[in-house]
């Protein structure tokens, strides 16, 4: 306490600063550059620079900065990398897409960068206030991005629903935060955690605080029953933004959950483990069952992302309890990273399907994709198999870690439900496969993939199969992340 910031404090947030800087730069550039694609490339440069700075931070010992407001540890590092990847891919996907939607504006890229910055602070936050502000930065930017297609009623509607429910839920979260603060007298995670560790756990006010916090967090990760905004928002949002939300926003929410569960309310484990377990089961099952009935690919993937969030929760459940399962902990970053690549690959194909006058969102629009563009169909197949968790794809390795963690921590029933859900999920992924490979093309317009989509597909493919076949390095990275070095 007492000291103003020091230079090394600034050092550790260079990646974020770069993003903020580029975000503002883009706003100015937007005024002078008529070709909006250029702004997109600029944004990518910003992300690249940020990534480079982040790379420089690799291996650094975990340090608290700003008097304990943030920490730069391996977990934060891992997730920041993930956010940057997701942001970069989103930008790549957006450049052609926004043109097709005729809403190509420089603000879009700034908002992506700001949102990413917000996420990066969320990943680093060790203070309720930092966390909250980071969260809101991300959330508000995302509300805007979802409604970015101003002329599109569905986009408006999605944005408004997302905003209303998001604000509502962050008020609930905030209520919980306020009680936590009142209880412990501090906003620093570590101090709150220490305080809770010594306080009697059955204090009703504390319990209400935990519930409010958990409810708010559940909303962010779209766990049942706080999931319902997801399909609507995902469907209405610009497709590339949907991709961004489904991976980056979700991952940020998970890292937030990570910090909150393990650093703040860790001592309340006996209370939240059952809650998480039930939510996990409901989330997986409901997401999968609802996805079966969908005819819109975006909506289907929205439900699928709900169920995937359910799977990730297994990692939190298994990462605790009696024996501290490193496997469960490691499964969370691993799964999210794999999901990021795979899912963005899927979204890339969906984005590519959106052309002038063709919405490309219905499953029927996938019909005969194989005949129209075999490469993208085959890649899509690989991504879908990865989502379904079938080897030798990365998705399998990730799912394996989750299931193994569940078994290791003796959550056998949960494990069984999870694997059955994994099997059910194959059913709706296969529907897309059927459309692509076994149905005849309903339309014959050629597909021409933009450079962004190509790069995305290539990256996602290399990652999905590469990690599937040789997952060692990525697993090590995930373990490194959870070691909080």
């Amino acid at each position: 306490m007492g000291q103003f910031f020091q230079l090394q404090d600034l050092q550790v947030i260079i990646p974020e600063l770069e993003l903020a800087f580029f975000g503002m730069l883009l706003l100015i550039a937007d005024l002078v550059i008529p070709e909006k694609k250029t702004i997109g490339w600029f944004a990518l440069i910003g992300i690249g620079g940020s990534a480079f700075s982040l790379y420089k931070l690799f291996g650094r010992e975990a340090t608290l900065a700003y008097g304990g407001a943030i920490v730069v540890d391996s977990l934060a590092w891992f997730f920041k990398l993930l956010f940057l990847v997701a942001a970069a891919i989103t930008i790549l996907l957006s450049m052609r897409y926004l043109e097709v939607e005729r809403e190509h504006h420089g603000e879009f890229y700034s908002l992506i960068l700001f949102a990413t910055m917000g996420m990066m602070f969320m990943a680093s936050a060790m203070d309720l206030v930092t966390l909250y502000i980071g969260l809101e930065t991300m959330a508000i930017a995302t509300y805007i991005l979802v409604g970015f297609l101003r002329g599109n009623q569905r986009s408006n509607e999605a944005s408004l629903k997302y905003f209303l429910l998001g604000a509502f839920s962050s008020a609930i979260l905030l209520y919980g935060f306020s009680l936590l603060y009142g209880f412990s007298g501090s906003t620093r995670f570590l101090e709150i955690g220490n305080f809770l560790g010594s306080a009697p756990p059955d204090n009703p006010i504390l319990l209400i605080a935990v519930v409010a916090v958990v409810a708010g967090l559940f909303f962010k990760i779209a766990a049942v029953p706080f999931h319902q905004w997801t399909p609507d928002a995902y469907e209405g949002a610009p497709t590339s933004v949907t991709g961004f939300m489904s991976v980056a926003v979700k991952a940020a929410s998970f890292v937030m959950i990570w910090r909150v569960l393990f650093f703040i309310i860790g001592p309340m484990r006996p209370y939240w483990i059952p809650i998480l377990t039930v939510a996990c089961i409901l989330t997986m099952t409901l997401g999968n069952i609802a996805a079966i009935a969908q005819t819109n690919v975006k909506r289907l993937l929205a439900y699928s992302s709900i169920s995937h969030a359910g799977y990730v929760l297994i990692g939190f459940i298994a990462g605790n309890e009696t024996s501290f399962s490193r496997m469960g902990m490691a499964a969370v970053p691993l799964y999210l990273l794999v999901y990021t690549f795979t899912n963005l690959g899927v979204w890339a194909v969906v984005v590519a399907l959106r052309r002038k006058n063709i919405l490309g969102e219905r499953i029927d629009d996938m019909n005969g994709l194989f005949f129209r563009h075999p490469a993208s169909a085959i890649l899509m197949l690989i991504f879908l198999l990865s989502l379904a968790g079938i080897p030798p794809t990365a998705g399998f390795i990730a799912k394996y870690y989750l299931f193994a963690a569940a078994v290791q921590s003796h959550h056998n029933v949960l494990a069984v439900i999870a694997v059955i859900n994994a099997a059910i999920s194959a059913f709706y992924y296969l529907r897309i496969v059927v459309a692509m490979f076994m149905n005849n093309a309903t339309e014959t317009t050629g597909m021409d993939l933009s450079a962004g989509v190509r790069i995305t597909l290539a990256a996602a493919f290399v990652f999905t199969l590469g990690v599937g076949l040789y997952p060692g390095p990525i697993i090590e990275l995930a373990y490194r992340a959870i070691s909080l070095q």
């Binding site: 009623q153 569905r154 408004l160 604000a167 603060y181 469907e235 209405g236």
Partner: protein
């Protein structure tokens, strides 16, 4: 000196009234106001604790909350206006293009 739990209960009441507003009113503007009510309730909590603990952290927190509330209001209203241009309604129930 007023015991802290008085404030907490007042905050809870305001919070719940806000929730009721969100759940029942069909006018989007009113819903936005209800959310503001909820955030005010949080602020009461924060300030009450701040007072009890003889520190200003809660007050600082409240400042951030107010900041966020302002930002949210601005964005929310922006969204409302964008929507209003496409569909002249303030009724949240008419937002039903996407369901199931």
């Amino acid at each position: 000196m007023v015991a802290t739990h008085h404030y907490l209960i007042l905050a809870a009441a305001l919070f719940t009234i806000g929730v009721i507003g969100v759940l029942t009113r069909r006018n989007i503007m009113v819903i936005l106001m209800s959310i503001e009510l909820m955030m005010n309730a949080v602020n009461i909590n924060l300030i009450a604790f701040s007072d009890r603990l003889h520190q200003v952290t809660g007050q600082v927190f409240a400042i951030f909350v107010i900041t966020v509330a302002a930002a949210e209001a601005a964005v929310g209203l922006g969204i409302v206006i964008a929507m209003f241009k496409n569909k002249e309604t303030m009724n949240v129930n008419e937002l039903d293009l996407m369901k199931w």
